[in-house]
Amino acid sequence: MGQDAIVQIRNLNKTFRGRAGTVVALDDISLDIMRGEIFGIIGLSGAGKSTLVRCINFLEVPTAGTVTVDGEELGKLSKRDLLDARRSMGMIFQQFNLLQQRTALQNICFPLEIAGTPKAEAEKRAEELLGIVGLSDRANAYPSQMSGGQQQRVAIARALATNPKILLCDEATSALDPTTTRSILSLLKEINRKLGITIIVITHEMAVIEEICQRVAIIDASHIAEIGAVDQVFTRPQSTMAKQLIYPDGKQRERLATGKRYCRIVFDGNSSFEPVVSNMVLECKAPVNIMFADTKDMDGKAYGQMILQLPDDERAASRALAYLETQNVHVEEGLSDDFT
């Protein structure tokens, strides 16, 4: 860490003073976001993730701590320089926030206008960007004439207009249907790959993180609960909040009868195509009950987990566990309460 970090956040605190007293939104947050990565920040509503992303472009000024973007500590910049620094970061929002009285093209020209780019040049750039987001034919449409997905594409084009190094996405797909969400996410992925822009994604949906992020920070009650590579966090969540987000609704709890022994098998991307469970049953002559299974394809590899109810017979259960240990999977064994 350190050298190649485009965003460095150190000991960040943010408190809001309201009628109900002071509210701590962020408490001692430190994290590095690497140049060129897609970094996810996930948490429940009110966890502080939106405040955190606004501290990255100083829309919210931290109460304490530092934010360094591309080598510049934002807190030390003059007002003028801060406005310039913001131009090196694009931002998109849940509600798109397009100017309703401007066409798609004029919306994309807006940040360029703000930066003082000549009109002809701005329009040329805007047309180019409309091409990138696949909306060349909608240049003269007003936001009210466009679908949510199209509006978000225009918002992305607008955020990219000033050639930012970082793109901040605040719940950018939360107002969109699943199909549109997927297309917006693949557009973001493409932008990251083709233009090398660092993307920071704020979301409450694990599926979004899974789809495009390389690393993720899990925010819980103003703190970072867990941070790491997405596949690591996904397969072996450590914190309660991570487990809650990855296995939502505690749906396993209801299904697992108490007093039985269970084991969780975690597939780490190499072994999930092998028939591990079938082999185990054949090898150990131990019938097991699959209580829960959730495997996913991520970046061409398969990840996921399965919860098995072990046979009541002690020896059969031990044989099954012993067999699993020899396989290339992560095994956790316990009673029903251990898997909630």
Partner: protein, 220 residues
């Protein structure tokens, strides 16, 4: 019933009324629009919070708005005389009209601008827009339809004020209504002036609302 001379006076009254109303509307917007923008921008949740300035402007606007127009017009007569040289006639009436309408316009502008969603303001801030750029390039253009509706309402209010001014020699249709309808108790000239005022209100209102609707790019 109505002599040709009176018809002539009524014609002249219409022109005087239009002259007063249009000039005062322009004048009240020249003062009221910046004041309204200032009220929004310097508000504690505004793009450039300035507590003291906001409070001072707010109090002045409220004081001027609390004084009934006729009383205000009498109160500012020395000012009117100093600027115009007289307190009688339609040109002189423009002065109290502007003083009374500018704070009204300021509040109308303030409420129109406040309709602009915080999201677009935040988006502009994220692009590095300065408070001035946000006001001129986001708030005013985005609120344009609402500002036009506000202007239509303001112009009708100013028309009402201008008719009251007839009682202190303000000229226009108000003076005719006062001279013939009130002083001489003649019904026909009274009815004619009332009908004319209604027609003028309708025209301004319709133009304002149609324009606002035509220029609004939402809801298509």
């Amino acid at each position: 019933m109505i002599s040709p001379e009176l018809w002539g006076l009524i014609g002249q009254g219409i022109l005087e009324t239009l002259y007063m109303v249009i000039l005062s509307t322009v004048g009240s917007y020249v003062i009221g629009l910046p004041l309204g923008l200032l009220l929004v921008a310097t508000d504690k949740d505004g793009v450039r919070p300035m507590r003291a300035l906001n409070a001072v402007v707010g109090v002045i606007v409220n004081i001027l708005r609390s004084i009934p127009f006729l009383i205000l017009a009498v109160l500012v007569m020395p000012v009117t005389r100093a600027i115009i040289g007289t307190t009688i006639g339609s040109t002189a009436t423009v002065v109290p009209l502007i003083i009374a309408a500018a704070p009204y316009v300021a509040r109308m502008v303030e409420s129109s601008i406040k309709e602009v969603g915080f999201g677009v303001i935040e988006a502009a801030q994220s692009m590095g827009a300065s408070p001035w750029q946000i006001v001129t390039k986001v708030l005013v253009p985005e609120a344009k339809p609402s500002l036009l509706v506000g202007a239509a309402i303001s112009i009708v209010t100013i028309l009402g004020y201008s008719a009251m001014a007839g009682f202190i020699g303000g000229g226009g249709l108000g003076t005719i209504a006062q001279n013939y309808g009130y002083n001489r108790n003649q019904t026909p000239p009274m009815i004619v002036t009332v009908v004319l005022l209604v027609i003028i209100v309708q025209i301004f209102q319709t133009i304002g609302l149609r324009l606002a609707k035509k220029l609004d790019k939402r809801n298509r």
